[in-house]
């Protein structure tokens, strides 16, 4: 039976009762786009497997659940989050904690980090930088038949705002620790905006942690503007639990001579789908999309990537890897679109997965659409087991079979991790991946919150 009509009617109730909860304090610009977005959501619905982009991903388990709470947390909810402190040794960052996708003290003003980068809630941003928000909000998000994007536009109340004005450089990476913590089952929708103006640089690390065992579903939309000659890096570490669902839509819009990279490391989560859109809107832009996931039990992890080459002389790479065990399933759907005028494009895509059990499953769908004639594009996808020759090689040096397998899986994963631009973080993620591969709960060693 189709679970969706009931969920849609539940969401419609929320929408109709919006005056009480939804509009309270949320930015006026959010409200302006809501009615049209909700209609769009009703038209498109919740994507099912008939939708090409969701062909291998079944959202039912996460979306059919009856959540108790849908809107942003109240100030009291932040008490636990305030206590949270992440100490990654040698990782020198500006650290901020979000709760269920929301900025504590959202109504307070934005903070300026040394180097001149502004950070805070969207609510505060709409008051402090109205014309900037006006210029970028909801300009890069596209739905392309995905009803979850307009659903976010219709119902999101707040989110994170990051702004690097012209020429500013963040002196340290910014770390956002996003805690999922509640006594209620939550469906949260956060809406984030990152603006990196011409000649600016920003490096962002987002860690998602579920720290209480409730059911969670997050439908996140993040819009990123990367101006001329600027640089933006985002690394996401997703470490949640089997009852949490996470759907992210990240739209990276790049101007000429800019550089962007996205790295999604999915260590744990019941259902995770990361959609990353890279749009190259000027010459000499470069963009990279990386992803690594480790899935076991009944987890599902999907990566959807689309790179749009609109202008000539741009470079892009996609590298996605996964290790699947037990009954886990994974999907990779990667598209490269080279428009008519995008001559001298270099675009590469590769997806490799290792399947450890007979019951795990991986589906890959690489797609190239090329309308220019002077381009270099390639794509490749492999799904396989561990290399028996390599395994024997390690064992022939005295390393036992179990450890040898671990080393190979780790080596396989490291190929993605090595692209993470912050060294201390690379090491930390290496360790987390190793712990996860060993079957331990991966947790930062110095984490103050010992959750299970």
């Amino acid at each position: 039976m189709d679970y969706r009509p009931e969920v849609i009617s539940r969401l419609t109730d929320l929408w109709e009762g919006r005056n009480t909860e939804l509009l309270k304090g949320s930015p006026e610009i959010f409200d302006r786009f809501r009615p049209e977005a909700f209609d769009e959501f009703l038209r498109l619905g919740i994507p099912d497997r008939k939708n090409e982009a969701y062909k291998y991903t079944n959202l039912e388990k996460s979306f059919s659940y009856k959540y108790e709470k849908y809107f942003s947390p109240k100030p009291d909810d932040f008490r636990q989050a305030e206590k949270f402190h992440c100490e990654v040794e040698d990782l020198d960052v500006w650290n901020m904690v979000l709760l269920n996708g929301f900025f504590p003290r959202g109504d307070e003003g934005l903070a300026m980090l040394p180097g001149g980068i502004w950070v805070g809630s969207m609510r505060a941003a709409a008051k402090q930088f109205p014309s900037l928000v006006e210029k970028h909000y909801n300009k890069y998000a596209r739905n392309e038949n995905d009803g979850l994007v307009p659903l976010n536009t219709a119902l999101a109340t707040d989110g994170l705002f990051l702004y690097a004005p012209k020429g500013t450089v963040n002196t340290k990476p910014i770390q956002i620790v996003n805690l999922l913590q509640s006594t209620q089952d939550i469906f949260a929708q956060d809406r984030n905006l990152v603006v990196v103006e011409d000649g600016a640089q920003m490096s962002l690390l987002v860690c998602d942690h579920a720290i209480s065992p409730q059911h969670y579903l997050t439908n996140t939309v993040t819009e990123v503007y990367v101006g001329r000659n600027s640089r933006f890096e985002i690394i996401r570490v997703q470490n949640q639990h089997n009852d949490s669902g996470k759907v992210t839509h990240t739209f990276i819009h790049q101007e000429r001579d800019s550089y962007a990279s996205s790295n999604n490391v999915t260590l744990h989560g019941g259902l995770v789908r990361n959609a990353t859109w890279h749009s190259l809107n000027g010459e000499n832009a470069e963009t990279h999309s990386y992803g690594l996931f480790l899935a076991d039990k009944h987890q599902h992890v999907a990566n959807f990537v689309k790179v749009d080459h609109v202008f000539p002389n741009c470079n892009s790479t996609q590298l996605f890897k996964g290790v699947l065990d037990d009954n886990a399933s994974g999907a990779f759907n990667g598209r490269i679109m080279v428009h008519k005028d995008a001559q001298k494009t270099n675009a590469f895509q590769s997806s490799n997965s290792i399947i450890l059990s007979d019951t795990a499953r991986m589906d890959t769908k690489p797609q190239l659409e090329i309308y220019a004639d002077d381009v270099k594009c390639s794509h490749g996808a492999t799904v396989g087991q561990l290399d028996e020759n390599a395994l024997f090689y390690l064992r022939s040096r005295g390393i036992d079979a179990r450890e040898a397998k671990l080393m190979l899986m780790f080596g396989f994963a490291h190929d993605v991790i090595k692209n993470i631009p912050i060294e201390a973080l690379r090491e930390r993620i290496d360790n987390l991946v190793l712990q996860r591969l060993r079957g331990e709960l991966s947790r930062c060693a110095s984490c103050a919150i010992q959750c299970n």
Binding site: Y393, R397, G398, M407
Partner: protein, 265 residues
């Protein structure tokens, strides 16, 4: 059980996909001896290396292999390695993402654990690496990389010898270690073997050609043909093979086989 042999192979038979490759092979090696096994393509040389190191490609159907008094065939590949058997691969495997340092540290410490020793400290390990690197003249640029990744043919072979130096085996099997090496690389690799060999280290050199034996001088040379050792001799046999090829050996062996079967009738 004390035995004068380091390894004793008796009437060894092994098949791959039900095809018998080794057809009753006998070989005994004492500590410190160097044996060369030569033979034409398809005679079973690589299968012998596989069987001795426990690779499951070949199935042993008969015979025994005793290593230092223990039944070698019962051991897993990793146990054999910890007992002191080392194979220098004909085609070393590239393993992206696994660093040489981590690989060697894990291997050394597994071996130490097997011998009831504590793991090496980080500084002792690095000292050992440095020492052995110099011994086999391998570039640090290589040992700082992933295992064999992007190495040239010669570098891979050198890396095998470096691993041998690190692990100090009791018995080293060199499987076509000379293949793909130019003469300078061959000399470095062969000298490496000679330098790291202790007086009681035994070596079995599996090779097509005599040239490696100019550097690693064998005590005995055996000719493997059609799954059996059909002729044994001293180093001079290798020279004779180089000169005359294998055809005369094949003829001799085939005649013996014929006579033998006729006799039986």
């Amino acid at each position: 059980m004390q035995t004068e042999f380091l390894i004793q192979i008796k009437d060894l038979k092994a098949s791959i996909d039900n095809k018998e490759i080794l057809k009753g092979l006998n070989l005994e090696v004492k500590p410190g001896e160097i044996h060369a096994i030569m033979g034409p393509n398809g005679s079973g040389k690589s299968t012998l290396a596989n069987v001795l190191t426990g690779r499951e490609i070949a199935t042993v159907t008969a015979g025994t292999v005793t290593f230092e008094g223990k039944n070698l065939l019962e051991m897993s590949p990793e146990e054999r390695a910890r007992e002191g058997i080392f194979l220098s691969f004909q085609y070393p495997i590239e393993i992206p993402g696994v660093s040489m340092v981590n690989f060697m540290k894990t291997a050394i410490n597994e071996q130490r654990k097997h011998r009831g020793l504590e793991p090496l400290s980080a500084s002792d390990f690095l000292r050992l690496m440095r020492e052995k690197k110099e011994l086999v003249e391998i570039d640090s640029a290589l040992t700082n990389r992933s295992v064999n990744e992007g190495f040239s043919g010669g570098e891979k072979k050198k890396n095998e010898i470096f691993q041998m130096a690190m692990l100090e085996p009791r018995l080293a099997l060199l499987d076509e270690t000379d293949s793909g090496l130019d003469i300078d690389a061959l000399r470095i690799v062969a000298n490496g073997v000679n330098k790291i060999r202790r007086p009681d280290t035994s070596v079995i050199v599996i090779t097509h050609y005599q040239r490696l034996l100019d550097y690693i001088v064998p005590d005995y040379v055996h000719v493997l043909y059609d799954g059996r050792i059909v002729k044994s001799g001293g180093p001079e046999l290798a020279l004779e093979l180089e000169e005359r090829g294998y055809d005369w050996i094949k003829k001799e062996a085939d005649v013996t086989e014929e006579t033998w079967t006729t006799d039986r009738k």
